[in-house]
C-alpha cells in the first residue's frame, strides 16, 4: 500500500501554477525537514502499518458507505450514498489527518504540538491524538469561532490542550492560521505544526491529502461491492478542501466519476458576502501557497462570510485550484439559507445530523439530482456530524436554551 496515485505536486511543491512554499525564511528548514521525513516514511512498511492500524482501532475505519433510502426517495432520481466520516472517532474526517501527522511528529521526536482550527473539529482531532501520545498541545482559534463553537472549545480543553483565542484581523480561521505559523516560526526546534487542511506551504497540502485519501480509496472498494461500478458523481464541501481532496484524489484517474466541490455561498455569490474563492476569487498568495483567493484589487485578503465556521476561509487548497483549471473537478456554491435547509432535511429524512459544513454538500443535491436519471449513483461525503452546530442552528431558529 502506498499513499499517492498522482505525479503532483512537482519537486517544488506546485500543482500546475498553484502551491509552492511562500514562507518566511525561518520556516524553510522546518518544511524541508518535514518533507524529507515524510518522503522517507511514506513508503516505509512499519510506518504505513502503524497508520492503518490506528485508523482501524482508534478511528474506527473503514467508515460505511450507507444507502440513503429516504433522501433517494425524496429526490426521485439516482441513488444517494453517504460516506459516513461523521462516524469516525471525534465525529469528522479530520482525525484521519491528525492520526497520520502525529505519527510524523513522533518519528521526528517533536515534543510540542500546535494547530489552528475553525469549526473546532481539527482542534479536537489534534488535541485527541496529542493526548493519546502525552504531548503538549496548543490550539489557535479565531475569537469569533471560539464564540460560535464553544462546545468544541470545551472539548479541546477537556483533552488537556490549551486554546488560544486569536483577536487579530477577522478573528476567524485565517487569523488562527497566521498565529499558528507565528508560533511555529518562534518554536520551530521542538514544535510540530499539524495543519488541518490541504492548505499552507508545501509539503502540507500533499501530506494532508495523502492521509485523507483513505476516504476515497474506501469509496472505490465499497462502490464495487455495493453497486458494482464507480459512482457517477462524488459531492463534498470545500473550505480549505481536505475532506473533498481526500475523497476526490483516488478518483482523479477514474474519469467516469464527476467530482463536485461545494463552497460556502454565504449570502449568495453575487453579493460578494461569501467564502467561495473557486467561484468568485482570483489567484493569489496566502499562508504559504498560491491558490484561488478572495482578495481586493490591492491584493488584500477579504473578509469572508459563512454560517459554517469550517468553511469560513478566503483561500483554498492549491490542488483544488489546479483541478478547477484543468476541468477535472467542478466547483459550485450554495448559500447559508440552502445549507440550513439541507441540515434540517437530512436530519429529518435520514436520522443523520450533518455538520453545517457537510450540509453545503447536501444542499447541492437539489439542483444535481434534477440533472441525473434513476440509474445513477451519487456519493456525498458526510465530512462531519452536526452536534457541534446545535447552538448556531438554534440561535438562527430563535430558540433559547
Amino acid at each position: 500500500m502506498t499513499f499517492s496515485n498522482s505525479n503532483f505536486p512537482d519537486k517544488e511543491g506546485f500543482y500546475g501554477e498553484y502551491g509552492g512554499k511562500f514562507v518566511p525564511e525561518t520556516l524553510m528548514y522546518a518544511l524541508e525537514e518535514l518533507e524529507n521525513t515524510y518522503n522517507k516514511l511514506k513508503d516505509n512498511k512499519d510506518f504505513i502499518d502503524e497508520f492503518y492500524k490506528d485508523l482501524s482501532h482508534f478511528v474506527g475505519r473503514p467508515s460505511p458507505l450507507y444507502f440513503a433510502q429516504r433522501l433517494t426517495d425524496h429526490y426521485k432520481s439516482g441513488s444517494i450514498w453517504l460516506k459516513r466520516e461523521d462516524l469516525n472517532h471525534t465525529g469528522a474526517h479530520k482525525i484521519n489527518n491528525t492520526v497520520g501527522q502525529i505519527l510524523l511528529a513522533k518519528y521526528m521526536g517533536k515534543k510540542r504540538i500546535i494547530a489552528e482550527t475553525g469549526a473546532g473539529q481539527h482542534g479536537v482531532a489534534t488535541a485527541t491524538v496529542a493526548a493519546r501520545l502525552g504531548l503538549e498541545c496548543h490550539i489557535y482559534m479565531g475569537a469569533e469561532d471560539v464564540r460560535r463553537q464553544s462546545l468544541n472549545v470545551y472539548r479541546i480543553k477537556l483533552l488537556g490542550a490549551h486554546v488560544h483565542p486569536v483577536d487579530s484581523g477577522s478573528a476567524t480561521l485565517k487569523d488562527a492560521l497566521n498565529e499558528a505559523l507565528r508560533d511555529w516560526v518562534t518554536n520551530v526546534d521542538d514544535t510540530y505544526y499539524i495543519i488541518g487542511s490541504v492548505t499552507g506551504p508545501h509539503p502540507y497540502p500533499m501530506i494532508v491529502r495523502d492521509f485523507n485519501s483513505v476516504v476515497g480509496k474506501e469509496v472505490i472498494e465499497q462502490s464495487k461491492d455495493l453497486f458494482g461500478k464507480m459512482p457517477d458523481a462524488v459531492v463534498a464541501c470545500v473550505g480549505g478542501g481536505s475532506n473533498a481532496m481526500g475523497i476526490f484524489h483516488p478518483f482523479i484517474d477514474i474519469k467516469e466519476t464527476r467530482l463536485i466541490g461545494v463552497e460556502a455561498g454565504g449570502e449568495g455569490v453575487s453579493t460578494g458576502e461569501h467564502a467561495a474563492p473557486l467561484n468568485d476569487g482570483t489567484p493569489g498568495v496566502l499562508h504559504g501557497a498560491r491558490s484561488y483567493l478572495m482578495q481586493d484589487e490591492s491584493g488584500q485578503v477579504k473578509d469572508t462570510k459563512s454560517v459554517s465556521a469550517g468553511l469560513d476561509y478566503p483561500g483554498v487548497g492549491p490542488e483544488h485550484s489546479w483541478l478547477k483549471d484543468i476541468g477535472r473537478a467542478e466547483y459550485v456554491a450554495v448559500s447559508d439559507d440552502d445549507a440550513l435547509k439541507a441540515f434540517h432535511e437530512v436530519t429529518e429524512l435520514e436520522g443523520i445530523m450533518p455538520a453545517l459544513e457537510t450540509a453545503h454538500a447536501f444542499a447541492y443535491l437539489e439542483p444535481l439530482m434534477k440533472e441525473l436519471d434513476s440509474s445513477t449513483n451519487v456519493v456525498v461525503n458526510v465530512s462531519g456530524r452536526g452536534d457541534k452546530d446545535i447552538n448556531t442552528v438554534a440561535e438562527i431558529d430563535g430558540i433559547e436554551f
Binding site: 518566511p24 525561518t26 487579530s168
Partner: protein, 261 residues
Amino acid sequence: MNRLTSKLQNLKESNKKALVAYLVAGDPNLDTTLDLMHLFVDSGVDVIEIGVPFTDPIAEGPIIQKAHDRALKNNISLKMILELVDKFRETNTQTPIVLMGYLNTFISHIELVQSIGENSADSILVVDVPGELNLQTYGITNPNINIISLISPTTKDDRVESIAKNSTGFIYYVTLRGVTGSSNLNIEEIKNNIQKIQQYSDAPTMAGFGIKSVEDASTLAACSDGIVIGSSIVEMIADESKSKEFGRIGEYLREMKTAIS
C-alpha cells in the same frame, strides 16, 4: 549605481555601521509617515525601511501586526506608498528606501513595481519569498530595484550560499527564531552565523528582529555591517500617534546611532 548599494558601500569604506529604521506606511496616516521619515534622517538613520501593509503579515509580531491593521483602516495601497516616496524625494534624494512586504501585495501591483524609477524606492524585501527563489519569476525585473533576502538561524549552509548570491541589496540576517519584536537574542549564535554569511558573500549583512536596547545594538553592530530597528520604533509611533510628540523617537535613534558608531 543604486542609491542603497552606494550608500552601504560608502559606509563600509569609511568603516561605519548602517542604521536601518522601519515604520509602516500610513500608520497612523501618510502625512505623519512623511514627517517621521524626515525625522529618521535628521536623527542619523541611513536607510529607511517602509512596511507595506498586508492583511496577513505572518512574519510580524503583535506590535507590527497592529500597525499593519491601523494602516489598512486608512486603505493604504502600494500606489499611495510610492506617491509618499515621491513626496519624500522632493526634499531628500540621498536616503535609500526599502519596501518591505508580502508577495501578494507586490504581485497585485506588478505594473507599479515595474515602473519604479531611479528617483523613488531603491529596494524590495519580500518576506514570504525564500531567498534562493528569483523574484523575476514573479515578474519583478525592474533594474532600478535591488533585492534583499533574509537568512535566519535555521538556514542551512548550502542555502546560505545561494541566497547570498541572489541578494543584490544587502543580506538581512534574522537574529532570532521568531516574529518581529520577540526577545532573547543569542549573541554567540548570531556572531557565528554572520561570519559564515560573510565567507560566502561580499554583500553587506544587516542584523535585525528583536533589537531593542543600545547594548543589543552595539553588540550586533560590532559583528555586522549595520542593524535594523523595527518594533521598538513602531511601538513609540503607536504610543505618540495622538500627541504627535515624536521627539522621543528622534532621541532613541540618536542613541542607537551613537551605540553603533
